[in-house]
């Protein structure tokens, strides 16, 4: 099967007053149509940066330094500004973190959807655009009448659905959803995720779900990618990740999860996530790791393929020369 998405060695730097922060450092991965990937990692590990980089939406002081994002057979990194504008929504779409709060409060939902379409087609008729929008609303389980409503007339779950409807207006092949349900309650969350599931099935798209709710990941995705300081630490199937994580950081993450059996135990990961401006030498996780050896402090572990196709970046698993 041809992968629908290929990311090669993507790198992003933020040029801040205090120095250069490498927020995304050489991330590579591939995704097939119909696959669901969960992108997890501590706050500030670069998840949103990765999504923005894939969309070519990194703004100064940030810059994409290197890398390719290939959707189908189009290398997005070679596109002109206008071409990229078209590719967004048509090939790849991004539902940003906090999207539902950024709906324009004084514009009807329909007008906001039509605006999004206009950016892509020169002259579809008004009726045509309205039709497309209402179809899209329907596909996320909203009533067609939502087209005429204002954001304040909708509940959080409905607003989030509207954002998804806008994202999938032009039937993209890759959908990136950045924390789509973190502001919603569990019941609504379940309903929204069921909708995303159905939309994906209809479009046959690949999904990247960004978040930190490991419970949601366990229930929804096929593969999990764990990020730390802008690098991929582990990429494996959801089953492998939850039953037998390999990277010490992934292991710590999994054991920090709450269950009904360990009430009152807050097993966070000891130590602090390092500041991007002062990354530790070698493996960035080494100061917090329980398996650190000499080599971890001096050499950056490469992301290596292990048995069964899972990828891990840790010296514990590299053959020492």
């Amino acid at each position: 099967m041809e992968p629908v998405l290929r990311i090669n060695n993507l790198q992003v730097t933020y040029y801040t007053d205090a120095g250069r922060a490498r927020a995304l450092d050489g991330v590579s991965l591939t995704l097939n149509a119909g696959e669901k990937l969960g992108l997890v990692g501590e706050s500030g590990s670069g998840k949103s940066t990765m999504a923005l980089a894939m969309m070519h939406m990194i703004k100064p002081p940030g810059r994409i330094e290197e890398g390719q994002v290939i959707v189908g057979d189009t290398d997005l990194t070679t596109l002109t500004k206008e071409e990229m504008l078209k590719a967004r929504l048509e090939k790849i779409t991004y539902i940003p973190q906090g999207a539902m709060n950024s709906l324009n409060p004084v514009m009807r939902i329909g007008a906001q959807m039509v605006d999004a379409i206009k950016a892509h087609y020169k002259s579809p008729s008004k009726a045509e655009m309205a039709e497309m929008s209402m179809d899209s609303l329907e596909s996320v389980d909203l009533d067609r009448s939502v087209f005429k409503m204002y954001p304040h007339e909708l509940s959080g779950g409905m607003k989030q659905r509207v954002c998804i409807a806008i994202g999938i207006l032009l039937k993209p092949q890759v959908i990136i959803a950045d924390e789509p349900t973190s502001a919603l309650d569990v019941v609504t969350q379940r309903q929204v995720m069921e909708t995303i599931d159905r939309v994906q099935e209809t479009l046959g798209a690949a999904i990247i779900l960004i978040g930190h709710d490991m419970g949601l990941m366990a229930q929804f995705v096929d593969k999990v990618a764990v990020m730390y300081t802008g690098r991929l630490m582990e990429l494996s199937t959801v089953r492998e990740m939850f039953t037998n994580p390999q990277h010490p950081y992934a292991q710590a993450l999994i054991s920090s999860l709450p269950s009904l059996d360990n009430k009152g135990v807050f097993q966070g990961i000891p130590g602090l996530a390092p500041a991007l401006l002062r990354l530790p030498s070698g493996c960035a996780f080494h100061p917090r790791c329980q398996h650190t050896t000499e080599i971890c402090t001096t050499m950056l572990p490469r992301l290596e393929q292990m048995e069964g196709g899972r990828m891990v970046a840790c010296h514990l698993y590299t053959e020492q020369v």
């Binding site: 801040t16 205090a18 997890v40 990692g41 501590e42 706050s43 500030g44 949103s48 973190q97 906090g98 709060n101 909708l154 509940s155 959080g156 779950g157 409905m158 924390e179 973190s182 502001a183 919603l184 309650d185 569990v186 019941v187 609504t188 969350q189 379940r190 309903q191 930190h212 709710d213 490991m214 419970g215 949601l216 990941m217 366990a218 229930q219 929804f220 959801v238 089953r239 939850f242 039953t243 710590a252 993450l253 999994i254 920090s256 999860l257 709450p258 269950s259 009904l260 009430k263 009152g264 135990v265 807050f266 097993q267 966070g268 990961i269 602090l272 500041a275 401006l277």
Partner: protein
């Protein structure tokens, strides 16, 4: 001695003003009575789905909005008539951390500003140096590197970073009551544990009572002692957190608990079907608020059910339990262990 905080039959109704009419609106909170004692600090969860009135409760408690009926007392005095020094004390002793870390920040000010304003306002430091120390201490307590955070603008911080700054800000003031409205919903799992631990130790070490508002029953279970489950402004179930979460009785609480996405591959997500989305339903005035979504509804449910006792520390507002003894809503606090 008066209670530290008391809600007396508090109701809040929002009226919808149309172009020509004022329609009877949403009852966001319905006849809530609650007491918080100063000598027994506790962590109380207020849970419920979107629109259940959790934030309304927080806003009322903070005095940002006034009740439509009923009273909210702080140290025996109505919070909406506090003046001068008493008002300052209330403002300092009751702190909040809000749901949306993207909303509270003024984009034009540094993080420093956010933290220094309360220090100055409540005269918590006597020198620049002391002020800086206080900021460093609070930021470190929530797992941030002060040297990287101070001097930054909000847009240069991630969602989780912003939320921790909010907790740090509340920490600075050493409050008596901390209202935490979804404080960790935008924070990742490992830090979530850290922040919850910070909140827990606030209670333990400084005797702060925490009103933990959330729809996340897993964290509620871990951090709190007691729980109130709201649906459309009305208490559905209340009691000891262990009992309510391990053995939920009200059909609504059961639905909530069934919808938790457990980080466990063998425990699949909600088998119970969800009947319609909340926002799609009209007000069913008069009856049980959960009526239109309840699979067990009968004719009786058209009048509002009282609270029925399951045990000393658990009650549910549902006719399925009408063979049990009742408890008046004014005595809600008796169900909540501290």
């Amino acid at each position: 001695m008066p209670e530290l905080l008391e809600f007396r039959n508090v109701t809040k109704t929002f009226f919808r003003r149309g172009w020509f009419t004022t329609q009877p609106g949403t009852t966001a909170l319905n006849n809530l009575s609650l007491k918080v004692n100063e000598s027994n600090s506790t962590i109380l969860t207020v849970a419920g789905e979107s629109g259940s009135g959790k934030t309304t409760l927080a806003m009322l408690l903070l005095g940002f909005i006034t009740p439509t009926s009923g009273q909210i007392l702080y140290r025996g005095k109505d919070i909406n008539s506090l003046k001068g020094a008493e008002r300052m004390i209330f403002r300092r002793e009751v702190q909040a951390v809000f749901q949306d870390p993207f909303a509270v920040f003024n984009p034009f000010y540094h993080v420093d500003h956010l933290l220094s304003v309360p220090i100055k306002r409540f005269k918590l430091a006597h020198s620049k140096k002391e002020m800086r120390e206080k900021m460093f201490e609070a930021l470190s307590a929530v797992g941030l590197h002060p040297q990287d955070i101070l001097g930054r603008f909000p847009h240069q911080l991630s969602g989780g970073q912003r939320q921790r700054i909010n907790v740090a800000r509340a920490l600075l003031l050493r409050p008596k009551i901390l209202v935490a409205d979804e404080p960790v919903s935008m924070v990742d799992a490992s830090l979530r544990a850290n922040i919850l631990e910070v909140l827990s130790s606030l209670k333990k070490d400084y005797g702060v009572t925490i009103i933990y508002i959330t729809h996340d029953l897993t964290t509620a279970y871990h951090i709190s002692k007691s729980i109130i489950v709201l649906y459309r402004g009305t208490v559905m179930e209340a009691g000891d957190v262990d009992t309510v979460i391990n053995a939920p009785q009200h059909p609504y609480t059961r639905l909530l608990i069934d919808s938790i996405p457990w980080p466990d591959l063998n425990r699949r997500w909600g088998e119970t079907e969800i009947k319609a989305e909340e926002a799609e339903l009209g007000e069913n005035n008069g009856g049980c608020k959960f009526l239109s979504r309840c699979p067990f509804a009968t004719k009786k449910c058209k009048t509002p059910p009282p609270l029925y006792l399951m045990s000393d520390l658990q009650a549910a507002s549902c006719y399925l339990f009408d063979q049990n003894a009742q408890i008046e809503s004014e005595r809600l606090s008796e169900l909540l262990p501290v």
